[in-house]
Amino acid sequence: MTEFEPKEKFKHLAKIGPNILQCIACGDCREQTDYTANPPKWGVCVAKDHTSGFEPYFARGKMQIIRSLWQGKLDLSKEMAEVIFQCPTCNACAEACAYDMDNVELYEALRAELVDAGCGLEVHNPMNKAMVELLNPYERDNKLKAKWLEKLDFKVKDANTEQVENLYFVGCTAALTPDIENVAINSAKIFNKLGIDFGVYGEQEVCCGSVGMRTGDRKAFNSVANKNYEMFKKSGFKTIITSCAGCYRTLKKDYADHMEDLGITVYHTIEFLAKYIKENNVQMKNLGVKTTYHDPCHTGRHMGLYEEPREILSKITDLTEMKTIKQAAKCCGAGGGVRKGFAELSIDIAKSRIQEAEETGAE
């Protein structure tokens, strides 16, 4: 009988190294409520709050599951996946942890193990398949990604054929969702107004792979990541700007090695604009509108981008903060494949976040 060797069996987890067994099980990730803190904390884990709340639904339980797998006391299973995939990977647990653990890195490795073992969520398969085959996870014709450009009254450079200083990486969601395409349209208008040299890939833009990475399908992720790498290598730009929080995290963090190779800097639109405004002393008019700001997990806790959006919003609007903000901000519930895998849970979490936003009186 051969001895159980976790490093051989769990290759994704093995890459993380000693952190796998680092959790001491103190449970601070269960519920850090501290009204006296700045920003105040009202709990940690939205998955715990909106499910049955048993331990596997928050970080400590998941860390013990990983420990048990690593020790050969537990097997990967579809039942395990049902629980593990209900986490929107917001990483609020990592903020609560006294030991600076990157919990999401561990959860994503565990998801990759589950998928490799054939235990992933079936509902994620069409999405990841489409990402590889159609180059977007929405199962739509990628040509539609250029549709929003028709609504502009100026021409945007084609980064496939023209030299650009900055690539505007639109992302599948803004490019393919009519309700959200204004994000792309308005971003382009701002760049144009400021005279920024930029271009887009349009119908040839390849999904960044975020959904594959978040849902454990590393093959799907690698497929699109490699395509993007080749495209970026061919182009001469040194800056990528994206308005999508998921693309931002993926391009900047998950592609970090690629980007370093190519000498490319990745900015979120807000980050890029805040820098531009500061460097060029751009004067802005306050529109007198009452707003609030939701910190997306992928720009906030995953990447630490908290101040730039607030700097801009407080200049052009009357910014009123929600009850939970910045590192302590509640998640919207859509990330980590939860919207696709557990729509009801996702909406439930989103509702409470929207309620927080409504309580600010924002217009």
Binding site: I24, D28, D34, G53, S68, Q71, K73, Y99
Partner: protein, 486 residues
């Protein structure tokens, strides 16, 4: 599910998997679980926040009762100074609820975290921020609602609430103090579902000051603390003391960060003062300065942690209190501390100090990789209201499979040593409660009384059966006695 509930914060117990895990929402549901457990003779272990350092909230086989769904504030009575909560509410949630109201429970819970529950604090008789002034967690308890682990799943209320006509406004007077039966019982006598807690006006003006004593002289610490108690009196909220070795280790880095040199060689005293008025606080701080001026230098909070403010708020600020503590449990993961915290009377300090140092020197090799600093007296001292204090400390061990048995053996040995020099522990859990029994702490008469009480509430012996080595009614504590080793 079972794997997720398999560990506490310690490197000694093996992973333990319960058969059934439940998360009840009401006292009646707890009672029903108890009835079922009795019907089928299944052991039960209640669990609060699960940040237990002593193996108390995990069970091998049986039912694990996760009480965190019972997390509501049921009554906040400002006029009569009490609050009724479900025992699964966390200290973080309770303190946050009270913070804007101007009321406080005084002691703000155990160091085991924001996520520690009120029930856990009561079951473990813990100390925490505010304990120098307000005492241990049970000291603020006016009574509890408890499900007894018998066949009927009987629900009782203690304190004034035992009088069915009365509000839960005081602890004593209706009957014997049966609240005490459930304080520090580590979940052996009943399952606490509601707690009635005292409230105090929360003094809005608080300030902490840190001093490093010129000399490594603990006797001076106690003389100074006595003077502080008498002269600062009711404004004194907390005194804690860090040992010189920890301060000396931090000094080079502190110098790099701040450019400051501190030549004092003694322990660090962290003193928190609170007052209802700013002017009173000022007067008390001036008094403190005068008391300390010849023996110590005032130092900034960043001396012990670069993230702390000039004057650290641990003792009354949740994050300060808990994170400082959490990081001490495992300064070098995956090493985790096996808690050895215990109380001793101040007048015994000198003798106990020698015993602790002797023991750790004698066993230094055995604890190698275990004791972080062989020869250290304590990782912190925490003063309690009436002439005693907590020696906070631990022996660390690697949190890996192959080391657990050895870790457990060392841990028990150290606790037995402490019991035999007269230490009184808290958060007994499974490990420390067993060490107390192994050390032969209880007289046969006390053992009989203890067993009779247990049998009265738990005739089938199902609730937390391993604690205190109460494995069966037929066994005797002497079966587990371990001869004095040192």
């Amino acid at each position: 599910m079972k794997a997720a509930y398999s560990r506490n914060v310690d490197p000694a117990f093996p992973d333990r998997w319960a058969d059934i895990i439940v998360r009840p929402e009401t006292t009646e549901e707890v009672s029903n679980i108890v009835k079922i457990a009795n019907k089928y003779k299944i052991r039960m272990v209640p669990r609060g926040g699960g940040a237990d350092l002593v193996g108390g909230s995990v069970t091998e086989t049986g039912i694990l009762i996760d009480l965190t769904r019972m997390n509501k504030v049921l009554e906040f009575n400002k006029d009569d100074y009490y609050i009724v909560v479900e025992c699964g509410i966390t200290w973080g949630a309770l303190i946050s609820h009270l913070h804007p109201t101007g009321y406080t429970t005084g002691v703000i819970g155990p160091g085991s975290g924001f996520a520690a529950t009120i029930g856990g604090g009561l079951s473990n008789s813990t100390a925490g921020g505010g304990s120098t002034k307000y005492g241990l967690v049970p000291d603020i308890c006016l009574g509890v609602e408890v499900v007894l682990p018998n066949e009927e799943g009987t629900i009782i209320r203690t304190g004034s609430a035992a009088n069915k006509y009365a509000q839960p406004f005081c602890r004593y007077g209706v009957s014997p103090d049966f609240t005490g039966l459930f304080m520090g019982d580590v979940g052996t006598m009943g399952i606490k579902t509601k707690a009635f807690l005292r409230l105090f006006p929360d003094p809005p003006y608080k300030q902490a000051r840190m001093y490093v004593l010129n000399k490594p002289d603990y006797n001076r610490v106690f003389e100074l603390s006595k003077q502080i108690r008498f002269e600062i009196n009711e404004a004194l909220r907390d005194i804690s003391v860090l040992p010189p070795i920890l301060i000396q280790m931090r000094l080079p880095q502190f110098k790099k960060e701040t450019g400051q040199t501190i030549s004092a060689k003694g322990p660090l005293m962290n003193i928190t003062i609170e007052a209802m008025e700013e002017s009173t606080l000022k007067v008390k701080l001036e008094k403190l300065t005068k008391i300390m001026e010849n023996d110590a230098v005032q130092v900034p909070g960043s001396l012990i942690n670069p993230e702390f403010d000039e004057e650290p708020k641990f003792g009354y600020d949740l994050e300060g209190t808990f994170h400082f503590f959490q990081q001490s449990i495992s300064p070098m993961p995956a090493q985790i501390s096996m808690a050895t915290c215990h109380k001793i009377p101040i007048s015994h300090m000198g003798g106990v100090y020698d015993k602790i140092i002797d023991f750790s020197r004698k066993h230094a090799s055995e604890f190698s990789g275990g004791a972080v600093f062989p020869g250290i007296f304590a990782s912190m001292l925490y003063f309690l209201p009436n002439g005693n204090f907590v020696v906070l400390g631990g022996v660390s061990g690697k949190n890996i499979e192959g080391e657990r048995e050895k870790n457990m053996e060392r841990w028990h040995r150290k606790i037995r040593h402490q019991v035999r020099y007269g230490g009184a522990h808290y958060w007994l859990g499974e490990s420390i409660s067993q060490s107390v029994t192994e050390a032969g702490a209880f007289t046969p008469e006390y053992e009989q009384f203890f067993r009779d009480m247990k049998k009265t509430v738990d005739p089938n012996y199902l609730l937390s059966p391993n604690k205190f080595h109460l494995h069966t009614y037929d066994s005797k504590f002497k079966d587990y006695y371990v001869e004095e080793e040192d």
